[in-house]
């Protein structure tokens, strides 16, 4: 195709020329894809989309031949269902939860003090003093427990007057003892 130039005569086609022109034009104009089979060209490619449209009626499918296809798939989230759990699966989950709860209960009970021992089970065996938290919790939870005495006469109301040894020295008297060494006399040499 060429455009008319200023110095050329205008194109004046005859009927035969127009016949030939139109015949060639329409031969070129027919899409090649039109010669394909309908099912092979469109239907097979569109099958997944069409099935999707049937599954979700709100889905729009636009087809533009075998070369180009587009789909506006709007899947409503409410329609996407998770697979249902079977009764056996539900029972398994419930049993597992019950077992976990029972284990937690047992562990919590075991962390408490053994009745009559005065010590927490969780305290270290070589520890002379139980932890403060464990002791306070013991006092709170077990007020009637008897405590083990660590010094003679410690259960008396006036511990300062308790005799500490066989010589009759009391605790008050020991506090008054001057522990500084007295000045020794110099040797006579």
């Amino acid at each position: 195709m060429t455009k008319n130039l200023a110095n050329t005569s205008p194109w004046n086609p005859s009927d035969e020329q127009m016949d030939r022109l139109l015949t060639d034009f329409f031969k070129q104009e027919v899409p090649v894809a039109l010669s394909h089979e309908f099912s092979a060209s469109v239907r097979e490619m569109a099958a997944p989309l069409i099935e999707g449209r049937q599954a979700w009626p709100g889905t729009a499918v636009h087809l533009a031949g075998p070369v180009l296809m587009s789909a506006d798939v709007h899947l409503p989230m409410a329609r996407t269902e998770l697979p249902r759990r079977s009764v056996a699966a539900k029972m398994t989950v419930a049993g597992t939860l019950a077992a976990v709860v029972v284990c937690l209960f047992v562990v919590t009970s075991a962390n408490r003090s053994v009745p009559g021992s005065g010590e927490s089970v969780t305290s270290r065996p070589d520890s002379a003093l139980p932890s403060k938290t464990a002791a306070s919790s013991d006092r709170d939870s077990l007020p009637e427990e008897s405590t083990m005495l660590v010094s003679p006469g410690a259960d008396q109301r006036q511990p300062g007057q308790t005799v500490l040894g066989s010589d009759g020295v009391t605790l008050e008297e020991t506090e008054g003892v001057d522990l500084r060494p007295a000045a020794l006399p110099l040797p006579k040499n």
């Binding site: 194109w11 086609p13 139109l22 027919v30 090649v32 099912s39 587009s70």
Partner: protein, 179 residues
């Protein structure tokens, strides 16, 4: 030419019927849609849309499938023309590479020539364009065109001659020159 479907078909028969009908009539339907819109790709889309709806149709049995498809396609073309945005375009030339092995320069010249003539056809009235399409795209006889257009052969011959002359005038006005 026309096939009727008076009895409901099962799926396999229906599929086979549509396949045969597509082979026999898709070319003709495309040409008739083309005479309406002067756009080969859009006419092709109309053919596909019509057959796809025919495939999915589950209503009352269709007595005249060709007329049904023609109406569905024409309605779709009218809807597209109103919206003017719903048309999907084929990749230009990509689908034709295998069937039309032209060199790039020659392909461009042919493409420009096609565009010029297409634009000129779009300027004509629909009846003149339809006569040209039936004559040159479908290769119908004058008598057949007369039957389709509810006219007589002499009137169709006159209309054909006038349409060719009108098209030539439009092409000359647009500066077209055929080598």
């Amino acid at each position: 030419m026309q096939k009727n479907t008076p009895e409901p078909l099962d799926d396999a028969e229906r599929r086979e019927f549509i396949e045969c009908f597509y082979r026999d009539h898709s070319r003709e339907l495309w040409a008739l849609f083309y005479s309406q819109c002067s756009d080969p790709d859009r006419a092709y889309d109309a053919v596909q849309e019509a057959f796809l709806r025919f495939f999915d149709y589950r209503g009352e049995p269709i007595r005249d499938a060709r007329a049904w498809l023609l109406r569905v396609g024409q309605n779709w073309l009218r809807d597209v023309a109103r919206k003017k945005s719903n048309s999907c375009r084929l990749m230009p030339g990509l689908d034709d590479l295998e069937a039309r092995p032209h060199l790039p320069d020659a392909a461009m010249v042919i493409s420009e020539k096609q565009t010029e003539i297409r634009s000129a056809l779009a300027q004509m009235n629909e009846d003149d364009r339809k006569v040209l399409v039936m004559k040159y795209s479908l290769d119908w006889s004058t008598a057949k065109i007369a039957t389709a257009m509810d006219s007589n052969a002499a009137a169709i011959d006159m209309r054909l001659s006038r349409a060719r002359r009108r098209l030539a005038e439009i092409l000359v006005e647009r500066g077209f020159e055929n080598d």
